[in-house]
Amino acid sequence: MAGLAVLVFVVTICLLAPVYASHIAHVNPFTSNVQGTTTIHGKVVAVLQTNTLGIGVTPIGPTWDLSHYFLGADNQGRDVFARLLYGGRTSLLIGSLSALICVVVASLLGVIAGYFGGVVDWILSRIFDIVWAFPIYLLAISLSVVLLTSGLNLGPIHIGPGSMMLPILIIAMVFVPYVARPLRGIVLSLREREFIQAAIGSGASDARIILKEILPNVTPSIIVFFPLMVAFNMLTESALSFLSIGVQPPNASWGTIINDGLGLLYTRPWVAMAPGIMIVITAGSLNILGDGARDAFDPKAKLRGSI
């Protein structure tokens, strides 16, 4: 249950981001504050400090003071911790939603491909190959330019460049083969097992076999993949935001803060480390949660009684 507690804690503090920003830290994490100042130990200092020789500008580092600039400032003079909390909401949303879509679609397709075999498997496997070999960065660059101009119109739905659905869908689709192929492999093996053969022999319909026999045996694997996908998706989101799909400035996500932090790695490493740590904690707790859920679903594990 430690996993659940950590996850709940992370989600809560991220949801409370607006409260923190306006009442505790009194900052606006979305406006640039290049020429701003703040008070540290009674002294007024510039948030972006010019080196004494006039070459190089460094944002202030962590003050470890929750009332302002807890983790320091980024290169626009904004409060990193406040942005981290706001960013969490975006990242959690994108990461979990896309992981959910990915896993659901992949499970469906993987199971169908593995179970039916033949032409169905052939077509689906080729689709997996195409999606997996496809250069997602090219698509992202192209989309970013297309959306810049006009936005995408799919029938009644208008997608602008800042739309969250775009990175969610792209990331979800890109990783479908990654989940579907292992699941397909498991189903290929399962299909030949005696209990499945027995079910087929007894005249059960395909749908019934899939739902009652195959899926329950595949579910533990699916549950294991979900937190892994959340982690990957949060990272892919950072790559896509760099190419301007998804989270647009000045909005933040853990991925965009990492991108900002890469330019400050040699002077203010915390800007890049903090969001990375948040991703680790989130993925880690989801993982532990997943193990717990898997054990809850797997009747045989309960019988064995361990964990």
């Binding site: 406006t31 080196n51 500008v57 290169n75 626009q76 301007s244 400035p249």
Partner: protein, 561 residues
Amino acid sequence: MKVLLATLTAAAGALVSATASVAANSSNTAFSYQKAHAGGTLKLLASTAGGTLDPQVNYTLQYWQLYQATYDGLVTFRKVSGAHSFDIVPDLATAMPKVSNGGKTYTFTLRKGIKFSNGAPVTVKDVQASMQRLFKVSNPNAGTWYNSIVGSAACLKTPATCTLSGGVVVNAATNTVTFNLVAPDPEFLDQLAVPFGAVLPANAPAKDAGTTPIPGTGAYAFSKYDPNRQLTMVRNKYFKVWSAAAQPQGYPNEIDMVFGSTVESEVTAVVNGQGDWVFDPLPSDRLSELSTKYASQLHVNPLTAVWYLPMNTNLAPFNNVLAREAVNYAIDKNAAVKLFGGTQLAQPVCTILPPGFPGHQNFCAFQKGTGSKYVGPDLAKAKALVAKSGTKGMAVGIVVTNDTVNMAVGQYVQSVLNSIGYKATLKPLSANIQFNYIQNTKNKVQISLTQWYQDYPAASDFLKVLLSCSGFHPGSDNSINIAGFCNKAIDAKMAQAEKLSITNPPAANVLWGQVDKQIMTTQAPWVPLFTPKQIDFISSRVGNYQFSRQFYMYVDQLWLK
């Protein structure tokens, strides 16, 4: 002749006497070579290659910096450091040309005895072929610079059969090359002095040579080019100094430009002594470290360049002059300087022509208070202007390139535009797309962030190119007048200044200055931000850092011993 020379020297007008005298002061006329320091292999680091190696096609600072050591034109910019690096001196020509026919005919005499790096001698036929080749390879400025040569119109129409007959006349017996121009062009010598004017062998391929090096006459020659790994320059074994002012002897035996590392790795390599110089802009998070621990290896020099925000004068909201003025009032140029790296690396500007440039006038229109020096923004006035213009609440897209500094300045601009009443979004694009994207009116770009570096020191290179009707091509990817600014009256004044520069350059520069002031104060099509400085970080083992205002750091003058 002397008059023309004076046109082409830098701002401080009274340099006529200095350039005319071939005096003994070697630091103003040419480098003096010190043989003891010769030798070694110089390792330059660049994250990516600079494209084609063909000097008549390549338009990047990256390779122009190398061409000055490998190619020569009839004339060139004096190879010294300091203000005299803008002087034009004879190179493959024996002397400055004889100008006649009211400025429409230039006659050069070619030097004898100079050889290309493949051993072939340089003849007048090579000069003629090189000029024709400009059109055959579709040189970027074939239609804007070299269309002053008689016969160029036919060449632009059918480049493959370009002869420039009547325009470039050569006489092998007298070893002369005569140019006939359609009209007097005060910048003709500048246009021959840049690498586009390089004299190449007549048998150079009639298309972009790409990665195959073309033989040149310089102190060095390109021997190998793999755009994914390295570009190698070695000493030209047929080179003998004919004019140290035009093409001096170099120190390293070999100069390599190595590609493929990230900029951070490059900086670390130079710090560790594994490389000698970083071409790319230095990452901002290393600047403090470098300027404190490695200060002696860091060199800062002024550039004639400007970072600016062109606003589309033909599209809402910036087709309204009040809106443009509002943005000018709102942006804090000092903040932009800070985001670029600090006051030592950039200086805020309010004018189109950068400080120190011919024609530059000191004024600063849109700021807090009055005065010619920039003090700070006036947000209250900006907000009032936005309200008055009726454009408040409009959506504005800012198109920038997606590298760190441009993104940082872009985010700041977005924040400011939001604070004065617009709904601003930032639109980053890859550097390879952005520059052409913002030029094409079909993309409906409202405001963008871009830079302009001089080709040569002439006011028209900024004002005419960037803000006259002739630079505006709607619907084309090449419409360098990004603001879409087209004003007939001001165009007429520019034409007047151009005409005046043939007879009275100082007066012409004054006129250019007035054009600058008039454009900015009455129309404000841009927000000029700052003029950057060039930072060079070199390794501890190299010495003799020399900086030219035209060519930047002389790679061949660095010595390793």
